[in-house]
């Protein structure tokens, strides 16, 4: 496998950013990591994962769709779409890498979402294997190997060097673009690191959580479960879980009157919000119980039902640590489970 010494990471980033925009996770002042556009001198974060997921790169929180220019009584429609620039997201974890596959199923299925596709086509996802998973991690539940992430290309560290391998053509192209910096390396030590990571993964408190009792066919078992009341009663109805979630893909389309025109934009929506999917006739989910149920049924039942058994969760654990009242998908799964 090709590798580069960890102390030459700067050089690697400089080389990538010379040809296209590079995003890497960096540490913020408050200790949390977030993706930043690479600039010389930036240090790759050692945090397990970024506070916000990487979905913004393809599905940003707000996005302009179309403009209407108004003058007096005349309206002109302006297409604001532009070809995206090429960019690389470096250091994506296995869970987030899988989230793109899930988002693809939504946005690249017919009818294709051209805004999403535009970015997806131009973005290269370079993943990074995990070495120190946290107690909140449960990617294994969804068949994700944190030690062997997906993505266009993947990186592994053995503590001395960074190993890079391509998973597809895009990944190969990426490696080719930096090949001058890379050299062939011995992966023996890497395998040991991987094995150690997998050992730890097995010891994590949520290692035994499985999806065995969930899936597209479980609608009737769970929809009317009497557990929903108890589970949802503490829910504040905020959107934290949905906004830190790498797979939540619901959005709302709104018009903003700028005074001289209308900007039609979309923004993330949250099924936890009281006006989620509010329609002309009213709101289909009037209680927090229904909205709460929607989120988890969607991830554990509806999504697999429509996507060949793929679940709408990647076990990144963000919602576990960020929910203000610590209610989360793990607690829901454990409470609901009909064996």
């Amino acid at each position: 496998m090709l590798k580069i010494s960890l102390d030459k990471l700067d050089k690697l980033f400089e080389a990538i950013s010379a040809s296209q925009t590079l995003y890497i996770p960096v540490d913020r002042e408050d200790g949390a990591a977030e993706y930043k556009k690479y600039e010389s001198g930036m240090k790759l974060s050692s945090a397990l994962n970024t506070l916000r997921s990487a979905k913004d790169f393809f599905f940003p929180q707000t996005e302009n769709l179309v403009d209407f220019k108004m003058e007096g009584k005349n309206i002109e429609v302006i297409d604001v779409r532009e070809e995206s620039e090429d960019f690389v997201i470096f250091g994506v974890r296995a869970c987030d890498a899988r989230s793109f596959t899930i988002l693809d199923k939504v946005f690249l299925a017919e009818p294709v979402d051209s805004y999403y596709k535009n970015r997806r086509d131009h973005g290269t996802v370079v993943t990074m294997a995990c070495a120190r998973p946290a107690e909140t991690c449960f990617c294994g539940t969804f068949g994700i190997d944190a030690a062997a992430p997906e993505g266009d290309a993947a990186c592994y560290s053995d503590g001395e060097s960074l190993f890079i391998e391509a998973h597809n053509e895009k990944g190969q192209k990426f490696i080719d673009s930096i090949s001058s910096l890379l050299e062939e390396g011995d992966t023996a030590k890497l395998e040991a690191v991987r094995a150690k990571t997998r050992e730890i993964l097995k010891k994590l408190p949520l290692a035994h959580l499985t999806t065995d009792n969930f899936g597209g066919d479980k609608l009737n078992e769970y929809f009317n479960s009497d557990k929903w009341g108890e589970l949802s009663e503490s829910c504040l109805g905020c959107g934290t879980c949905t906004f830190v979630c790498p797979t939540c893909q619901c959005y709302d389309i709104k018009d903003f009157n700028t005074g001289h025109g209308i900007k039609r934009y979309r923004c993330w929506d949250s099924c936890m919000y009281s006006d989620f999917t509010k329609m002309a006739h009213g709101n289909p989910r009037l209680t927090q119980l229904e909205r709460f149920r929607q989120r988890f049924m969607h991830k554990l039942v509806y999504f697999p039902a429509n996507n060949n058994g793929e679940f709408g969760c990647v076990g990144c654990g963000r919602c576990l640590s960020k929910c203000p009242i610590s209610m989360n998908i793990v607690k829901v799964m454990k409470a609901l489970e009909v064996k």
């Binding site: 408050d30 200790g31 949390a32 397990l48 506070l51 916000r52 929180q61 707000t62 120190r132 998973p133 946290a134 107690e135 909140t136 730890i200 010891k203 994590l204 408190p205 949520l206 108890e230 009663e233 503490s234 504040l236 109805g237 905020c238 959107g239 934290t240 949905t242 906004f243 830190v244 709302d252 709104k254 903003f256 934009y265 923004c267 993330w268 929506d269 949250s270 919000y273 009281s274 006006d275 576990l320 640590s321 960020k322 203000p324 009242i325 610590s326 209610m327 989360n328 793990v330 607690k331």
Partner: protein
Amino acid sequence: MQEAMINRAKQLLADGAVNRVIGWKRGEFAYDITPAVFETAEELEKEFVYDDFTAANVSKYLVKESKKEGKILAFLKPCDTYSFNQLTKEHRVVRENVYIVGIPGGPKLDAEKIKAKGITGILGVKNENYTLKIDTVYGEEIMPFYEAILDKCATCKSKKHVVYDELMGEEGDVLDSNRFDMVEKLENMTAQERFDFWRDQLSKCIRCNACRNVCPACTCEKCVFDNPNSGVENKAPADSFEENMFHIIRAFHVAGRCTDCGECSRVCPQNIPLHLLNRKFIKDINSLYGEYQAGEDTTSRAPLNDYKQDDCEASIVHERGVE
């Protein structure tokens, strides 16, 4: 404490004095605690928890719970009692339907602070004489208790319960806290520095509304920011203006009503120090209109619903501090 609380709760349930108990439930990890309502002694035995991580202020839940059938037992920490009083004053809770047991408060722990030390894979946390022994998948870690306490506890304003039906443990005092230090520090910066500070902070906002939804003062039937007819509704910070707008108005709407319970900052997933905005209002109110602590009582007039003929003019803003 936890044991005593469970026993008292069981007793009150058995007596029929209350039919429900609001408290906290243990989760997957040492630190993930969920507010919960208990109806039976068995549930209490099994899941009720009160420890260093039970920081959540449960008073807001009483808006709904106190309107249900029967009386509910609420264990309230000192800071929670202020919130409860404020809610009583605004007719948002039915006081008669709540049996309040005042319990000693924090300092409570902040899991984020532990994690920020690089400690991960946490399996258990023990407080041994104010040293935290943290069991992790990577081995045992140690850190001083006080380095892991919540910011809101570090600037605690009062250990006194302002409302209760009975007290457990000893009653504390209103503290001489240093809670305005950071506000003051910002006030002494230049306008440009303040602008940069807040731009940096507020640009992190993802508009998840956690700060608002957790806030015991934000109990509007429908928030203006959720109401399409209000003219200011929005779901995402589409522009830096909207980030400012949301947080200015959020703080303004609770000005004179915010008890400074600190929940907004505690729950912010982006670690924005939102409480500084609230505290700025509190500090201004105290210095311009006289000391006022929201929630201290249920009868006083909120500073913004009150006036004195010789109040200072708005131009005072132009005359003081740093431009």
